[in-house]
C-alpha cells in the first residue's frame, strides 16, 4: 500500500476529479441524478485518496516532503512534474478535499439558475483538480499551471450562475487575477534564469522549488530578488486579496452562486497566502526581509479597512466578503513576521477562515434561498422563523469574531501576538505598532459580526416576511454543514491538530530568518 501511495497517491488525489469531469462530459445532460452521483463519487474518491495519504503520512517527519513523484514533463525548459506533500500542504489539501464533496452535497437540490447541473458539477470538479494540484506542486511551472486552471471554472461559475451584475463581477475577477499571474510568471522565469549554484556559480536553470528553496537560504539572487519578489507579491497579493488589490473580491463574492462563494472564500484565497509561504519566502529570503514591513503595513490596513467597510455594508453577502479582507489581513500579518510562530498562526488562520467563512457563505446562500434577498434591513427574526438556521448562524458568527474555544480564535490571536516579536532583522517598533492596530481590528470584527447577527436574527421578522412560513435546515444542508461545524469546534478546543502538523515544516522556512 505504501509503495502504491508513494508512486500514485498524490497524482490520483489531484487528477481523479478531472477524470470524473471528463467522464461526466460524455453523459447526456438529461441524466441529472446519474451526473450528481458521479460528481459525488469522484470528489469522495479524491477525498478517500487524501485520507489514505494522510494515514500513511509520517507525522514525525512532517518537515520533509513526502510521497514525492519526480518525472520529466517539459524537457526543453527543464520543467518537471514534481508533486509532494509536507506539513504545510497537508492541512490545506485536507480542507480542499473536505469542502468540495460538501459543496456537491449542498448543491444537490439547490442548483442556481440557469440550472444545468452537468456543467456546474463539471466546473466544481475541474476546480478541485486545480486547487489540490496547486497545494502539492513542487515545480514552479506546474504550480503556475494549476494556479491558472482554477481561474476559468470560477469565471464561468460567476459569469453563468451569478447574480444580476455577474458579467461585471466575473470579468473583474478574471482580469485582476490574470494580471497578477502575468507578473508572477515573469518572476518565475526570472528565477529560472538568475538562480545560481552557490558553490560553483553555475546557472541552475531549474523550476524545482526544492532546489530553489535550498539555494534561497544561501542568500542568492541579490538585488534582482527585490523585483522578482515584487512580481510574486502582486500575483499572490491579488489572490489573497491584500489591500489595495482587494476590489475584485466583494463583487465576485456578491455575484457568485453560493457554492462558488464558498469555494472562493474557503480555498481560492488560500492559494495566494500559500504561495507566499511556499514560494516567495523560502526562495527569496533576502527580499522577503526587505518587503516584510510593507506586507505587514498592507495587512493591518486591510484589517482595519475591511472591518470599517463591513460596518457600512447593507448586503449580508457583501459584508461577509469584506470580512474576508480583514481576516486574510491577520493571515498576512502572521506571514510578515517571518517567525515560525507567525507563519504557524497564518496557516491555522487559513484553515480556520476556510471553514468559518465557507460556512458563513453557505448560511448566506440558505438565507437567500428562503428570503430571496440579502439586504440586511429586510431581514430579521431568523431565530423565530427558522430557529436552527439562526443558531448555526450565531455559532459561526461567534467563531468568525474569534471567540476562544472556536477555530477563529487560533487564527487571529497568535497572529497578533507574533507581531509583537517579529524576526530579529525586522524593525521592532513598526511591528509592535501593527500589533496594536490589529488588536483594534478584532474589536471591530466583534462589532460588525454581532451587529449583523442582531439585525438579521433577533427581533421580529420584518412586515413583508411576517406571515410567511420558512423551512428550517434541510437534510442536504445538515450533511454539508455538520462536518464543518464539528471541525470549527474541534480545532478550537484542540488547535494542535493543525499546529502539530505544520510546525516542523514552518520551522524550516523560518530558520532562514533566524527565527
Amino acid at each position: 500500500m505504501e509503495a502504491f501511495l508513494d508512486g500514485w497517491g498524490l497524482t490520483l488525489m489531484v487528477f481523479l476529479p478531472l477524470a470524473g469531469a471528463l467522464l461526466m462530459m460524455l453523459i447526456p445532460r438529461s441524466h441529472e441524478e446519474t451526473l450528481k452521483v458521479y460528481a459525488l463519487v469522484f470528489s469522495v474518491a479524491a477525498a478517500v485518496m487524501g485520507i489514505l495519504v494522510m494515514i500513511w503520512f509520517d507525522y514525525g517527519q512532517a518537515g520533509e516532503l513526502q510521497f514525492v513523484v519526480d518525472r520529466s514533463w517539459i524537457d526543453a525548459i527543464n520543467s518537471r512534474y514534481i508533486v509532494g506533500m509536507d506539513g504545510i500542504s497537508l492541512p490545506l489539501v485536507a480542507l480542499t478535499l473536505l469542502i468540495v464533496p460538501l459543496c456537491v452535497i449542498y448543491s444537490w437540490n439547490h442548483f442556481p439558475d440557469p440550472k444545468n447541473p452537468k456543467a456546474f458539477l463539471i466546473l466544481i470538479l475541474i476546480l478541485e483538480t486545480g486547487m489540490v494540484g496547486t497545494f502539492v506542486a513542487q515545480d514552479l511551472i506546474l504550480f503556475f499551471v494549476f494556479f491558472e486552471v482554477v481561474l476559468l471554472p470560477m469565471y464561468f461559475m460567476i459569469g453563468v450562475w451569478g447574480g444580476e451584475e455577474r458579467l461585471y463581477a466575473s470579468i473583474k475577477f478574471f482580469l485582476y487575477t490574470l494580471f497578477g499571474s502575468a507578473l508572477m510568471i515573469i518572476s518565475f522565469v526570472a528565477v529560472f534564469f538568475l538562480a545560481q549554484d552557490p558553490s560553483s556559480g553555475d546557472a541552475l536553470r531549474t523550476f524545482d522549488m526544492r532546489t530553489l528553496s535550498s539555494i534561497g537560504q544561501a542568500g542568492m539572487l541579490g538585488t534582482a530578488g527585490l523585483w522578482i519578489f515584487a512580481g510574486m507579491f502582486v500575483g499572490f497579493g491579488i489572490k489573497v486579496p491584500m489591500f489595495p488589490f482587494h476590489t475584485w473580491l466583494p463583487d465576485a463574492h456578491t455575484q457568485a452562486p453560493t457554492v462558488g462563494s464558498v469555494i472562493l472564500a474557503a480555498i481560492l484565497l488560500k492559494l495566494g497566502t500559500y504561495g507566499f509561504v511556499r514560494i516567495a519566502l523560502p526562495i527569496l529570503p533576502e527580499a522577503s526581509e526587505d518587503w516584510a514591513p510593507w506586507i505587514g503595513l498592507l495587512a493591518v490596513i486591510g484589517i482595519i479597512y475591511g472591518a470599517i467597510c463591513c460596518l457600512a455594508q447593507t448586503d449580508m453577502k457583501r459584508l461577509i466578503a469584506f470580512s474576508s479582507v480583514a481576516h486574510m489581513g491577520f493571515v498576512m500579518l502572521g506571514i510578515a513576521t517571518l517567525t515560525d510562530f507567525g507563519i504557524n498562526a497564518a496557516i491555522f488562520g487559513m484553515v480556520a477562515h476556510g471553514l468559518i467563512t465557507g460556512m458563513l457563505f453557505f448560511l448566506a446562500g440558505s438565507v437567500k434561498e428562503r428570503y430571496h434577498t440579502m439586504e440586511i434591513k429586510r431581514l430579521g427574526g431568523i431565530l423565530l422563523q427558522a430557529p436552527r438556521l439562526g443558531w448555526i448562524l450565531g455559532f459561526t458568527a461567534m467563531a468568525s469574531l474569534g471567540l476562544p474555544g472556536l477555530a477563529g480564535f487560533w487564527g487571529e490571536f497568535p497572529a497578533i501576538l507574533s507581531s509583537w516579536n517579529p524576526a530579529a532583522i525586522l524593525p521592532l517598533e513598526t511591528f509592535r505598532t501593527y500589533t496594536i492596530v490589529a488588536a483594534v481590528g478584532t474589536v471591530l470584527a466583534a462589532g460588525y459580526l454581532l451587529w449583523l447577527y442582531q439585525r438579521t436574527s433577533f427581533g421580529r421578522p420584518t412586515e413583508e416576511f411576517a406571515t410567511e412560513q420558512f423551512r428550517d435546515v434541510e437534510a442536504p444542508e445538515w450533511v454539508a454543514w455538520v462536518p464543518m461545524l464539528l471541525l470549527i469546534l474541534a480545532l478550537g478546543v484542540y488547535p494542535n491538530l493543525v499546529f502539530g502538523v505544520t510546525d516542523d515544516a514552518v520551522t524550516q522556512i523560518a530558520a532562514a530568518f533566524g527565527g
Binding site: 517539459i74 499551471v145 481561474l151 469565471y155 459569469g159 453563468v160 458579467l167 470579468i171 510568471i185
Partner: protein, 529 residues
C-alpha cells in the same frame, strides 16, 4: 537625401563596392549553377501543383466536382510536407548539416523546412475551410485553390531565400496571390474593397522593401545574405554603417516587413482587409502569410544583420511594444468579431516581434514555436467565424454569437478552447507560445518588454472573454426574441476545426516535441558549395 547620395558617390569612389567575383576576360560560356532538385522539391511541388490545377481545371471546367479541388490541394500541400521530411533528416544529420542550393540563392536548413511545414499546414486547413465556404457562397471554380498553392510557394521561398532578390520574388509571389484572394468574393463589395486596399498599400510597401534592398546592396556590395553578413562582420562594415546608407536600408526593409506582418504603425490595412476578405482567406493571411513574413524577417535581421543588432533592435522594440498595446487595446472596443480577431492578430504579431527583438537563438526558436501554435489557433478561430458567418459571409457581429452555446454547444466549446489558447491559458498551445517568448526576453534581460507583453496579454484576454460572454452568458429573454437558427457545419470545415482544436490542446499538454523541433530549426547561413 543629397547627403546620402553624396556619401554614396564617395563610397563608390573609395572603391568599397568591389564586384563579388572578378570578371574573367575571354569567358565564352555562361556558367550555370548546379541545381539540387531535391532541395527545391517542396517549392516545386507547390508551384507545379498550382499550375497543374489551373490547367486541368480550365480544360475540364465543368466535369470536375468542387470537392476534387479541395482534395487535390490538400494532397499537394501534404506532398510538399512529405518532400520536406527527408530534407529535415538530412540537415539535422551532424555530418551533412544545412546546405545552400542554386549557387547560394536558397538556403536549406531546419528553419526553412520548419516554416515550409507550417505554411503547408496552413494551406491544408484553409483549403478544408474554403470547400464549404465556396459552396455556400456559390463561387465555383478552382481559382482560390490555385492561388492558395502559389501563395504558399511564395511563402516557402521567402522562408528559404538566401538572397535578398530571391526573397523579394517570394514576397511578390505571395503578395500578388493574396491580393487576388482577398477580392475573391466578387459579389461582396467589402471583399473587393479589401482586395483593392491590400493591393495598393501592399504595392507601396513592396516598393519600400525593394528600395531597402537597393540601399543594403549599395552599402555592402551584394544581395546575397552570406556575403552581406561576412561584409558586415568585417572591420570595413563597421565603418560603413556610420554613413547611414546601411541604416537607411534597414529602416526601409523594416517598413516592408512591418507591413507584411501587420505591425503597428504599418497595420492600418489589416482590420479592413481582414474584415472584408472572404473568411478562409483571412485565416490564410493571419497564419501562412504571417509565417512567411516573420520567417524572412528573422532570416534577414536576426541572422544576416545580426552583427548590427544594436542598430535595429530599438526599432523592433518600438514596433513590438506598439503592436502589443495598440493591437490589444483597439481589439477590445470592436463589436465585429472578425475585426476583433484582426486586431488581436496584430497583438500576436507583437508577441512574435518580441522573439525577433531579443535576437538570440532562444528568441528565434520561441518565434517559431509561436508561429506553429498560432497557425492552428487562428485558422481554427476563423473556421468558426466562417461557419457562423452564414450565407453572404456577413454575420460577424458580436450579437450573432449570442446564445451560440445553447444552440450549438460543441461549436461554442471548440471556439472557447481556441479563444482561450489565443489568450494564453495553460493546457493550450497558446500558453507555451507566450511562455517561450517571455522566457527568451527575460533571458536576454529585457524585462520591460516581457512585462509589457504580459500586460498586453491580459488586456487582450478581455477581448476573448467578450466573445465568450456573448456565447455563454446571454439571458433567456433574448432566446425568445428572434434568435438565429443553427448554422450548418460542413464536413471539411468540421475536420479543419477538429484538427486545429486537437493540435492546440495536445501541444498544450505535451509541448516537448514541437519545442525540440523549434530548437533544432535554427537558421544558418551556409556557404555556397
Amino acid at each position: 537625401m543629397i547627403g546620402v547620395l553624396a556619401r554614396l558617390a564617395q563610397d563608390t569612389g573609395d572603391g568599397i563596392l568591389v564586384p563579388a567575383e572578378p570578371i574573367q576576360a575571354g569567358v565564352t560560356q555562361i556558367a550555370t549553377p548546379e541545381i539540387q532538385w531535391v532541395a527545391l522539391l517542396p517549392h516545386l511541388i507547390l508551384v507545379v501543383g498550382g499550375i497543374l490545377l489551373l490547367t486541368i481545371a480550365s480544360l475540364f471546367r465543368h466535369r470536375v466536382p468542387r470537392w476534387a479541388y479541395t482534395i487535390y490541394t490538400v494532397a499537394v500541400a501534404a506532398g510538399a510536407i512529405i518532400a520536406a521530411l527527408p530534407l529535415w533528416v538530412r540537415v539535422q544529420d551532424a555530418e551533412r548539416g544545412p546546405f545552400s542550393a542554386i549557387a547560394g540563392a536558397l538556403g536549406v536548413d531546419g528553419f526553412s523546412i520548419f516554416i515550409t511545414v507550417i505554411i503547408c499546414a496552413g494551406v491544408i486547413l484553409t483549403a478544408l475551410l474554403a470547400d464549404g465556404y465556396l459552396k455556400r457562397e456559390g463561387i465555383d471554380g478552382p481559382e482560390l485553390f490555385v492561388l492558395l498553392l502559389l501563395a504558399a510557394s511564395g511563402g516557402t521561398i521567402m522562408a528559404s531565400a538566401n538572397d535578398l532578390i530571391v526573397l523579394f520574388l517570394g514576397l511578390e509571389i505571395l503578395s500578388i496571390s493574396v491580393y487576388v484572394m482577398a477580392a475573391m468574393h466578387a459579389r461582396r463589395f467589402t471583399s473587393l474593397e479589401a482586395g483593392m486596399k491590400y493591393f495598393i498599400l501592399g504595392a507601396f510597401s513592396s516598393a519600400f522593401f525593394l528600395y531597402g534592398i537597393a540601399l543594403v546592396y549599395g552599402a555592402s556590395g551584394s544581395t546575397n545574405m552570406i556575403r552581406i553578413n561576412q561584409y558586415l562582420a568585417s572591420p570595413t562594415g563597421v565603418v560603413l554603417s556610420e554613413n547611414g546608407l546601411l541604416l537607411g536600408g534597414f529602416a526601409l526593409l523594416l517598413v516592408g516587413f512591418g507591413f507584411k506582418v501587420a505591425a503597428v504603425p504599418f497595420h492600418a490595412w489589416a482590420p479592413d482587409v481582414y474584415q472584408g476578405a472572404p473568411t478562409p482567406v483571412t485565416a490564410f493571411m493571419a497564419s501562412a502569410v504571417k509565417a512567411g513574413g516573420f520567417a524572412a524577417m528573422l532570416r534577414v535581421f536576426v541572422l544576416t544583420f545580426g552583427t548590427f543588432s544594436g542598430d535595429w533592435q530599438p526599432v523592433v522594440f518600438a514596433l513590438a511594444v506598439l503592436s502589443l498595446l495598440v493591437g490589444s487595446v483597439l481589439a477590445i472596443v470592436q463589436t465585429n468579431v472578425k475585426r476583433m480577431l484582426a486586431y488581436s492578430s496584430i497583438a500576436h504579431a507583437g508577441f512574435i516581434l518580441v522573439g525577433v527583438e531579443v535576437a538570440t537563438e532562444q528568441g528565434t526558436a520561441a518565434a517559431l514555436f509561436y508561429l506553429a501554435a498560432y497557425t492552428f489557433m487562428v485558422v481554427g478561430s476563423f473556421a468558426v467565424i466562417t461557419v457562423v458567418g452564414r450565407k453572404g459571409d456577413g454575420h460577424h457581429e458580436l450579437s450573432d454569437y449570442r446564445g451560440l452555446a445553447r444552440r450549438q454547444p460543441v461549436l461554442a466549446f471548440v471556439f472557447t478552447i481556441l479563444l482561450l489558447a489565443q489568450a494564453g491559458v495553460p493546457f493550450t498551445a497558446g500558453f507555451f507560445a507566450k511562455f517561450y517568448v517571455i522566457s527568451a526576453a527575460v533571458d536576454a534581460e529585457n524585462y520591460s518588454l516581457a512585462i509589457i507583453a504580459m500586460v498586453s496579454a491580459v488586456i487582450a484576454a478581455f477581448l476573448y472573454l467578450r466573445i465568450m460572454i456573448s456565447m455563454y452568458m446571454s439571458t433567456d429573454s433574448e432566446a425568445v426574441t428572434g434568435e438565429p437558427d443553427r448554422v450548418p457545419v460542413p464536413l471539411a470545415a468540421g475536420i479543419a476545426l477538429f484538427v486545429a482544436c486537437v493540435v492546440t490542446v495536445v501541444i498544450g499538454f505535451v509541448p516537448g516535441p514541437i519545442t525540440d523541433l523549434a530548437n533544432d530549426a535554427v537558421p544558418f547561413l551556409v556557404q555556397v558549395g
